[in-house]
């Protein structure tokens, strides 16, 4: 089937006139997006070297998707970065990527320049580089082991880590999803997921490498309920993939109802658990022809690695969270205990994944790669593993996995993967803070709150602390509540007693 470039060429040959991106500002055909990607390739060819990454502030325009394609053609790793990140976090990401320029829409130039990073990181407008000369892609060989993209996720040491995924990982991924989810021409995927968020990998590769159509939903449109509903009714998407939080939110706001969901053939969710009580409500408004799918997978293993097609007729009997399903062919899972020993079938332990979809590691971070990946450098894909930190149970009779919890302090909040230590470290970097602890308190089966406890000289410091961490953390990581204490409670080891803090909240 060839590499990613060859595969995309074939899609363009077969679907040149078909719509690749159905944006609210207009449609872009496959021939057109290919021609934009060729112009951007010219720019990348001048500015970049193979293997050296580029950062993209993605606005979900046809040009931004074309940029990703161009980077893939050229064997240049791209990283989609959220412009809303505070300057310090953006700076940390750019420093990991060690790149000196960023590409984004012209309207974001000022916002980017205001972050004070423009002395070291130059801003190029996507509109400008899309208007360049047509570039002839030579037979430049891109090795399958080349990194295709770097996806940043929260890190417990305070700095986000960049998960690197190779062309080879993606080829396997595309082969799997295009078959199991019947992706191809005449299918329309709604791109609700932010591009700096792992779920978007499915939207992008599931569209452009199968000949389907992508319908972008940017963050403004997501919160403009009437316009969003109208977009769905007009464009008639067939495929939905998002975190459960987004589905629950839009169902409660009445954007999603029987009418607006009528065109969907698949509604797929993942990234966090979808509790049965809410899932049953969603099921009630889906058409009978629609498949409901629960998927699972860490960012480190190329988006998703297991799928469970739910039997909707038996949904009434579901208790708790639905099964994560079986691992996709090629993946192997081991369930290990605290000491690394393999658990007896049916017991709970940490899931360690093996196989060719395991990513390359954390970009420019061998230390964290070595601690989370097994045989990261092995040439034999079957030997390479990733310690997920997810506690699961395998049902021996069905071969399906069930999510039980986490082995560490990572949480999923509104679908975002957050290490609570990153928030604690951000708090501790505020000048007046003596100590800080963060807990996640589930308010219901579907919603939770990040609560921070801080001790400082005086309670009045709180308002300043709130302001300070807004400059360090992205908005979804900001604590909803700040509780001031003269001193935080300690356990017998002298460590902060989080159990006691939790009891205080619940009391």
């Amino acid at each position: 089937m060839g590499g990613l470039y060859t595969r995309f060429l074939r899609v363009v040959e077969e679907n040149g006139d078909k719509i690749a991106v159905a944006h609210e500002s207009g449609d872009t055909s496959y021939s057109k997006i290919f021609s934009i990607a060729l112009k951007i390739s010219g720019f990348l060819n001048c500015e970049c070297t193979i293997g050296h990454p580029v950062a993209l502030l993605h606005d979900k325009s046809a040009e931004s998707y074309a940029f990703m394609l161009a980077a893939i053609f050229q064997g240049i790793p791209y990283s989609c970065v959220d412009i809303k990140n505070p300057p310090k976090r953006l700076g940390s990401i750019f420093s990991t990527l060690s790149n000196d320029f960023v590409v984004g829409p012209e309207v974001w130039r000022e916002e980017f320049n205001n972050k004070g990073l423009n002395e070291t990181v130059k801003f190029f407008s996507i509109e400008e580089i899309s208007r360049g000369k047509n570039f002839e892609i030579s037979s430049r060989h891109v090795s399958e082991n080349t990194v295709a993209y770097i996806m940043f996720t929260s890190g417990s040491t305070g700095n986000p880590k960049g998960v690197a995924i190779s062309h080879k990982n993606l080829i396997r991924f595309i082969d799997w999803i295009s078959g199991d989810f019947q992706l191809g021409p005449n299918k329309r995927l709604l791109n609700v997921n932010p591009m700096y968020f792992d779920n978007s990998v499915f939207d992008f590769f599931g569209t452009f490498f199968t000949g389907a159509t992508l319908i972008p939903v940017d963050s403004d449109l997501l919160h403009d309920f009437k316009k969003l509903q109208l977009t769905i009714l007009e464009k008639k998407p067939t495929f939905w993939f998002s975190v459960p939080s987004t589905l629950i939110y839009l169902q409660r706001m009445k954007v999603l109802n029987e009418k607006s969901l009528e065109s969907f053939e698949y509604v797929m969710f993942g990234g966090e658990g979808y509790h049965e009580s809410e899932l049953k409500k969603l099921d009630q408004i889906l058409s009978t022809k629609c498949s409901l799918v629960n998927v699972y997978g860490p960012t480190e293993c190329t988006c998703i690695c297991s799928a469970k097609f739910l039997d909707r007729a038996k949904l009434y009997a579901l208790k708790g969270l639905p099964s994560l399903g079986r691992l996709l062919p090629g993946f192997d899972g081991k369930i290990v205990g605290m000491g690394g020993q393999e658990m007896i079938s049916g017991e709970v332990g940490e899931l360690v994944l093996f196989g060719p979809n395991i990513g390359v590691g954390y970009f420019n971070d061998s230390q964290r790669t070595e601690s989370s990946f097994i045989n990261a450098k092995s040439e034999t894909p079957e030997e390479r593993g990733y310690k997920t930190g997810d506690l699961v149970r395998l049902d021996p009779s069905s071969g399906e996995y069930y999510f039980i919890g986490r082995a560490d302090n990572q949480i999923k909040h509104m679908g975002y993967r957050i290490e609570l230590e990153e928030i604690e470290l951000a708090l501790c970097s505020c000048a007046s803070i003596v100590e800080a602890a963060v807990i996640y308190e589930k308010k219901s089966e579907t919603a939770g709150e990040i609560i921070s406890f801080v001790s400082s000289e005086a309670e009045k410091d709180l308002s300043l602390i709130r302001k300070q961490i807004e400059n360090i953390l992205p908005s979804y990581m900001l604590p909803r509540r700040f509780i001031w204490k003269h001193e935080l409670p300690k356990n017998s080891n002298g460590k902060i007693d989080r159990k006691k803090l939790r009891e205080e909240i619940q009391g």
């Binding site: 309920f225 009445k254 509540r481």
Partner: protein, 81 residues
């Protein structure tokens, strides 16, 4: 202020994490950072449960201030004693 109007303000106070005294008729979604889209969802769900009613998409979009929320509930006869 009737008991039921007071109930509305208590719901807003809980969802927006503001003191009940801060919930005045003049509060607007666009002017309060606490009243973001997620808090708005909390408000709508709590009102639907409390008053055993259901709002349409148009109503949800319109209910962006305390006075408009009270207006929408009055229209549904939810505030009658």
């Amino acid at each position: 202020m009737t008991d039921k109007e007071n109930q509305v303000k208590q719901i807003l106070s809980r969802a927006l994490r503001l003191e009940i005294t801060e919930i005045t008729d003049e509060i607007k979604m666009s002017e309060r950072p606490e009243w973001d889209s997620l808090s708005h969802m909390e408000v709508i769900v709590a009102l639907e449960e409390e008053f055993n009613t259901s709002f349409s998409l148009d109503e949800i979009v319109e209910m962006n201030s305390v006075s408009r929320i009270i207006g929408a509930l009055k229209e549904k006869n939810c505030l009658e004693d």
